[in-house]
Symmetry: C2
Subunit: 304 residues, 2 copies
């Protein structure tokens, strides 16, 4: 009996974010052999830890006589990450392989590249990782003239036209929602999970109409729980809706009458789709993993 | 040599909030003999702890052959406090002594009364303690037709006319600011203290004009720090200004063309005064301790 032959890996795609690391060992046919999920994100690593993290996770795929190319996007390229990768300045095409930062490794079996982020001077804004997802969306829709929404704790709205990122805006509505639901006086008022579609939509409409009342509307949920036994799932959904209603309205000029692509299919992505529909806009929803891989693959193709 | 004669105390005024307790042993002439500050607020006590807390702090003022009246306002009257005092329903005059809740004590030397809070059905809102400060303001301005602003973590805006509380609104802008500055991605971007008047006013005007961009404006401060070395004191002041600009604009119908009284003279009270001035409104600023004592004294006068 012999050991199983190790799978043949052409290169490795990597999405190295603040709290997570995802690795896709890629076959020669451009299809990932598997996905490796790790919690070794930037926030849990010092610069000295990155190489060993890769060596440990990729060990089954390493061969002694050849260097393995690893193409990374995300916060590994930030000042607090592995090695600082410069920002491209929008308006620009999503950064290509030409501007990637080669990271020096001690082990010659690794050849690591980190793709550039994108910055915007006015209003000041930055992204690291999302630009690669944008490249992935554009690989499938090269003529897209519209806005791409990348939902998350810090949601990015990216305007694209003629293959370029023409501008973008980050909203930390998701982080505000987490802070309010976990750390504020509302922490016992908002359910930790659950969804009430009607309450979400009511919140959206309220946030759209009277965004300046946010701090009052939130306290009102607490008072509603005290006085009227407001349901915690309805309270949670209403608060979430209020914040997304504000955000959608702030971006009306970006999405109204334009193509909208939402990257992601989780609960938060569905919430954005619902909030847009409520305003009469229809979004195309696309798979986040697929566009990340498409963007990293486009960069790898430029390297060869 | 004899012990010093204990000061003669007619009654005790008490402001028993979430995080603090303030006691004023009052002389027969209506002037406090001193102020006792304690951190034994509601959040650090169970119902069983309140009596002993009073006995310990008031021990020097107790006499064995007479009961000492203690008149309390604040969260001691909440469901999680010492004894639940009912809410009066606005519109109403500030609750009088008639509706105070007598708390049963084991020690007959204490006679404790907790004043009612005020609730509002639509939009749902509640106050406990501020109604007593309102009574104190009205004691000095019985004909006030305007709005009283009580700044704090949860700021109350109370409309008064003809001696009545006609309606009110709570804004938790202060808590949002604390969460953002201490627990969000901005915690290293915003200085823990310091004040930049220009940045505060810029933030106010931005929050007034584009409140729905709050979550974007906050991320913009982080990006400004990354890209342009934005000063942390300016960032802090800008964020505070944005939140207050939103709040002031939301309340325009309440303060525009009306008398405005701000209760308090601390940094946050001054920030509200500045934000109002920026919109052309002038507020009278009054001392918070003075109006609290005036309100508690008015209730005690009704008892006799």
């Amino acid at each position: 009996m012999s050991d199983p032959t190790p799978p043949s890996v052409a290169w490795v795609a990597a999405d190295w974010g603040t709290s997570h690391l995802r690795l896709w060992p890629m076959g020669a046919n451009g299809v990932p052999l598997c996905r490796i999920d790790s919690d070794k994100g930037m926030s849990s690593l010092t610069a000295a830890d990155y190489e060993q993290t890769l060596l440990t996770l990729l060990e089954p795929y390493m061969v002694s006589n050849a260097a393995l190319d690893v193409v990374c996007c995300g916060m590994a390229g930030s000042r607090q990450g592995w090695a600082e990768a410069p920002y491209a300045a929008a308006p620009c095409t999503p950064p290509s392989f030409d501007t990637a930062t080669r990271v020096q490794t001690q082990d010659a079996r690794l050849r690591v590249y980190i793709l550039s982020g994108v910055k915007q001077a006015e209003p000041a804004d930055v992204m690291r990782g999302e630009e690669t997802q944008i490249a992935g969306v554009l690989a499938a829709h090269p003529d897209l003239d519209g806005v791409i929404c990348l939902p998350g704790t810090h949601t990015k709205w990216v305007s694209v036209k003629g293959g370029e990122i023409t501008g973008f805006a980050t909203f930390l509505s998701g982080e505000l929602f987490q802070l309010v639901s976990q750390h504020s006086v509302l922490r016992h008022t908002l359910a930790p999970q659950g969804w009430d579609d009607g309450a979400f939509k009511d919140g959206c409409l309220e946030g759209t109409a009277t965004p300046n009342r946010l701090a009052n509307a939130l306290f009102g949920l607490r008072a509603g729980a005290l006085l009227n036994d407001l349901d915690p799932v309805a309270a949670r959904s209403h608060a979430s809706g209020f914040l997304l209603g504000m955000e959608i309205e702030a971006l009306r000029r970006e999405w109204q009458g334009r193509a909208v692509v939402i990257v992601g299919e989780n609960e938060i992505a569905r919430a954005y789709a619902t909030a847009l529909e409520l305003q009469g806009a229809t979004a195309e929803v696309t798979d986040a993993e697929k566009v990340t891989l498409a963007g990293l693959s486009a960069a790898y193709a430029q390297m060869k």
